[in-house]
C-alpha cells in the first residue's frame, strides 16, 4: 500500500528538518528576504493602512465576484479576446490542450503560474506531444530537475549554485564551466530565446484581473512574462476566479504591496497590463488572446462563513517566508501545490479535508503568518478552524477520540486527574529508571524519541501549590 499524504509528510518533514545543509540554504535565503522585506516596508509610510486598503479592495472584489468577473469578461470579449470558464482542472487543461492541437502548436513557452501547477497543465500538454518550456529562471531549473516549485515566488531557493551548474552541465551543455549566477542566467537566456521565438503559444498566469479595464495584470522581474505575452501568435492566460479586482487604480496600492511582500522591491520590474490580442496598427503582439478562469473548488470557499477571506490571497509568499515550520521542513515536504501556511489552509478546501487535514497541525499557531499577510488573512485561526472541521467530520482515529474522552472526564473530576498524574509520575519514573526512555515501552516516546526526557517533578503541581510554589 502506498503511504498516505500524511505519512509522507511526516517522513519528509523528519528528514528535511534533520538535513543541516538544507536548513543552512533556507536560512541564508530567508535572511536576505527578511532584510529586503523590512527595508521595503520602511519605504511605505503607513504599512498598516496599506494592508487595510488591500484587504478592503479584495473584500469588495470577492463580495461581488460574479459582477466583476462578468465585467472583465465583457471587456475582454469586446476586444476580440476569449474567456473560458473552467469548473475544474480537467476542463481547464482540456481547453488549452484542444486549442493547442487545433492551432497546430508544437512548442509552448510558459511564464510562472501557480494555477497551471495546481491543474497540472504542463504534463497534460507534454502528453499531447507539445513541448512546454518553463521560462522563469527558477521554474526552468526545477523543470530540468523534474520537480515542482519549492516556493511560490522563488521556485529554486533550495538549490545552491554549484548544484545548478552541475544540472546545466548534465542536461543542457557539457561546456558549462562556472557557477556564477550571471553566467548561468546567460546559458538559460540563450536556450530560452530560441524557445520564445519558435513557440506558437505563450502561457501565463495573472496576478490580478482588472474588472473595469478588462485587463490582465502580470508582474515579472525577468521579462520572461513579457516575451511570453508578446512574441508567440497565441497568448493563453490561466488563472483563478479570485484574482479579480474592481478598478485599475487599485493597483496603485496592490502593486507596491505585492512587490514589498514578495521580494522587498518597491514595485516589480515589469508590471504589465494586457487587455486583448494585438490591435490593427500595433507593431506586434499575439493574434489570439484567451483567458481561462479556473474555479476548481474556489466557489465553494465563498460559501464558508468563516474562511471566505482565504480567497483574498495575492500569492506573495510572505507567510511561507516567516513560518518557522516552513523554514525547517521546506516547501516540497508539504506535498501540495501551495506550501506554507496559505497552502495548509487552502489545500484541504481544494483537494479534500480528509487527505490533507494533517497540514492544519503543521503549525505552532504562533500567528506570524497572519501578522505579515498583506491582505490580513487570519491564517492561523483558519488552521484552527480546519482542525475543528476535520474533528467534527469524524476524521479522527478512534484511539484519539477515546483519549480525549478520558481527558474530558479527568478535567471534570479532580480526583481522577490527580490519580492520573500520580500514575503517570510513577510509571515514567520506573520507565526512565529502567532506561526505557524513547523506546516502544515509553508512554512519552513521541516526545522522547528525539529529545532528552524532561526531568520528573518530585510532587504534583497541586501538592506544590498547597505548600506555596517556592517550597519545592
Amino acid at each position: 500500500m502506498s503511504p498516505t499524504a500524511a505519512q509522507l509528510f511526516l517522513r519528509n518533514a523528519a528528514e528535511k528538518s534533520a538535513d543541516l545543509m538544507h536548513r543552512e540554504i533556507i536560512r541564508r535565503g530567508m535572511d536576505s528576504y527578511d532584510a529586503a522585506h523590512l527595508k521595503g516596508r520602511a519605504r511605505i509610510k503607513d504599512w498598516e493602512a496599506a494592508r487595510e486598503k488591500c484587504q478592503e479592495i479584495k473584500q469588495e472584489a470577492i463580495t461581488h465576484l460574479d459582477r466583476y468577473l462578468l465585467q472583465f469578461e465583457e471587456k475582454v470579449t469586446a476586444r476580440g479576446g476569449h474567456v473560458f470558464w473552467a469548473a475544474n482542472s480537467e476542463e481547464a487543461c482540456a481547453y488549452v490542450k484542444n486549442l493547442a492541437l487545433e492551432r497546430g502548436v508544437k512548442t509552448a513557452v510558459k511564464s510562472k503560474s501557480m494555477v497551471t501547477e495546481e491543474i497540472h497543465l504542463g504534463p497534460v500538454l507534454e502528453k499531447a506531444g507539445i513541448k512546454v518550456w518553463e521560462t522563469d529562471f527558477g521554474e526552468f531549473i526545477v523543470q530540468l530537475r523534474e520537480e515542482g516549485p519549492y516556493h511560490i515566488v522563488t521556485p529554486c531557493m533550495h538549490l545552491k549554485r554549484d548544484q545548478i551548474a552541475a544540472l546545466f552541465r548534465e542536461k543542457l551543455d557539457p561546456a558549462v564551466n562556472s557557477d556564477d549566477p550571471a553566467y548561468l542566467m546567460t546559458v538559460a537566456r540563450r536556450i530560452l530565446r530560441q524557445a520564445f521565438f519558435s513557440a506558437e503559444m505563450g502561457i501565463s498566469g495573472a496576478n490580478f484581473l482588472v474588472a473595469d479595464a478588462g485587463a490582465v495584470a502580470i508582474n515579472t522581474n525577468e521579462g520572461n512574462g513579457r516575451l511570453c505575452t508578446s512574441v508567440p501568435p497565441i497568448h493563453v492566460v490561466v488563472t483563478g476566479i479570485e484574482k479579480v479586482i474592481p478598478r485599475l487604480e487599485d493597483l496603485a496600492v496592490l502593486w507596491p504591496v505585492l512587490a514589498t511582500s514578495g521580494t522587498g522591491q518597491g514595485i516589480t520590474t515589469y508590471s504589465t497590463l494586457v487587455g486583448g490580442p494585438r490591435r490593427t496598427g500595433e507593431a506586434d503582439g499575439p493574434q489570439e488572446f484567451h483567458v481561462v478562469l479556473v474555479d476548481n473548488g474556489r466557489s465553494q470557499l465563498l460559501a464558508d462563513p468563516e474562511q471566505r477571506e482565504v480567497l483574498h490571497c495575492i500569492r506573495c509568499g510572505a507567510c511561507l517566508n516567516i513560518c518557522p515550520v516552513f523554514r525547517h521542513i521546506g516547501g516540497h515536504t508539504y506535498g501540495t501545490t501551495y506550501p506554507g501556511p496559505i497552502g495548509s489552509v487552502l489545500t484541504p478546501h481544494l483537494a479534500g479535508i480528509n487527505e490533507f487535514k494533517h497540514l492544519s497541525y503543521a503549525s505552532s499557531l504562533c500567528g506570524a503568518c497572519s501578522s505579515v499577510c498583506p491582505v490580513k488573512i487570519d491564517l492561523h485561526h483558519h488552521l484552527l478552524q480546519n482542525r475543528r472541521n476535520a474533528t467534527e467530520a469524524g476524521a479522527t482515529k478512534p484511539s484519539e477520540r477515546m483519549i480525549f474522552k478520558a481527558w474530558r472526564r479527568a478535567m471534570l473530576h479532580p480526583w481522577m486527574y490527580a490519580l492520573g498524574g500520580w500514575t503517570m509520575r510513577k510509571t515514567l519514573r520506573l520507565a526512565y529508571g529502567l532506561g526505557l526512555a524513547g523506546t516502544a515501552l515509553d508512554p512519552m516516546r513521541v516526545w522522547n524519541r528525539h529529545r532528552a526526557p524532561v526531568p520528573l517533578p518530585a510532587q504534583s503541581f497541586r501538592a506544590r501549590w498547597r505548600k506555596g510554589l517556592n517550597a519545592n
Binding site: E52, C156, P181, V231, R279, D295, P305, D378
Partner: protein
C-alpha cells in the same frame, strides 16, 4: 462550446449561491491612514528611484543634447541593427544622432531578435517608483523587452508624481481601449532566483537608458 456555456453558468450559480452565505468574518477596518509619503519634488524623487532601480537617467537641456546622448549610447553598443518607434520626434532624433546602423521602424513590424537596441517614447514617467509607463503605441510590445538595450526618449513634462495618478490617467483616458498592452517598467530585467543574488539582465534588456529632456 456546449460545455463552455454550462460550466460558465454553473460557476456563476455557485458563486451567487456562495455569496448568499452570511459571513462571520469581521468587516475590515476602513483604511484611513496616508499610505505613501506625498511627493513634493517629482524630478528629484524620480532620479533617486532611477538610481535604486539601476536605470540610467541622463538629463538633457534640449533636443540637440538628446541626440548627442543617443549617439553616445549607440556608439557604446556592439555592431548590429536597431529598432525605433516610428514617430516624427524620434525620426528627427535619429536623423540628428545619425547612427551608422541599420534602422528598423516600428511601422515595418516587430523588432528582430538580433536588434542591439530599441528606441521608444514613453506614455508617462512615474516619480514614486522611478518607472517608465509604455503602451503598445510606444513601438509595440517587444520594443521594450527584446533587445539587450532599451533607450527611452522622454520629456520632464511627462513626469507624474505617483502610480495612482498614472493609473488614473490610463483609466480616464481609456488608454487600454486603444492599446492592447501597457507596462510600468522600473529598471532593466533582472533575477535573483539563484541564492537570492541579483543578476541584472535576465530575459529582457540588461540596460535601460532614459534620455530625459528638460524642454518640450
Amino acid at each position: 462550446m456546449q460545455t463552455e456555456a454550462s460550466s460558465r453558468e454553473q460557476i456563476l450559480a455557485r458563486i451567487r449561491r456562495g455569496l448568499r452565505t452570511a459571513v462571520l468574518e469581521p468587516a475590515p477596518a476602513k483604511s484611513v491612514g496616508v499610505i505613501f509619503e506625498p511627493i513634493s519634488n517629482s524630478l528629484e524623487r524620480f532620479q533617486q528611484e532611477c538610481v535604486a532601480n539601476l536605470m540610467e537617467c541622463t538629463l538633457t537641456a534640449d533636443s540637440a543634447a538628446s541626440a548627442q546622448q543617443l549617439a553616445m549610447i549607440l556608439q557604446s553598443l556592439p555592431a548590429g541593427g536597431i529598432f525605433v518607434q516610428d514617430d516624427p520626434s524620434l525620426r528627427r532624433l535619429i536623423e540628428a544622432a545619425a547612427p551608422a546602423r541599420a534602422v528598423r521602424w516600428s511601422s515595418e513590424g516587430a523588432p528582430e531578435e538580433s536588434s542591439q537596441a530599441t528606441v521608444t517614447l514613453a506614455e508617462a514617467l512615474i516619480a514614486q517608483t522611478g518607472s517608465i509607463l509604455v503602451t503598445a503605441a510606444c513601438g509595440g510590445r517587444g520594443a521594450s523587452v527584446i533587445a539587450p538595450c532599451h533607450i527611452v526618449y522622454a520629456k520632464v513634462g511627462q513626469l507624474v508624481p505617483d502610480l495612482a495618478t498614472a493609473l488614473g490617467r490610463l483609466s480616464q483616458q481609456k488608454i487600454l481601449d486603444h492599446n492592447s498592452f501597457a507596462c510600468v517598467i522600473s529598471g532593466s530585467s533582472r533575477t535573483a532566483d539563484i541564492e537570492k543574488i541579483l543578476v541584472q539582465g535576465a530575459h529582457g534588456p540588461r540596460r535601460l537608458a532614459l534620455i530625459l529632456q528638460a524642454t518640450a
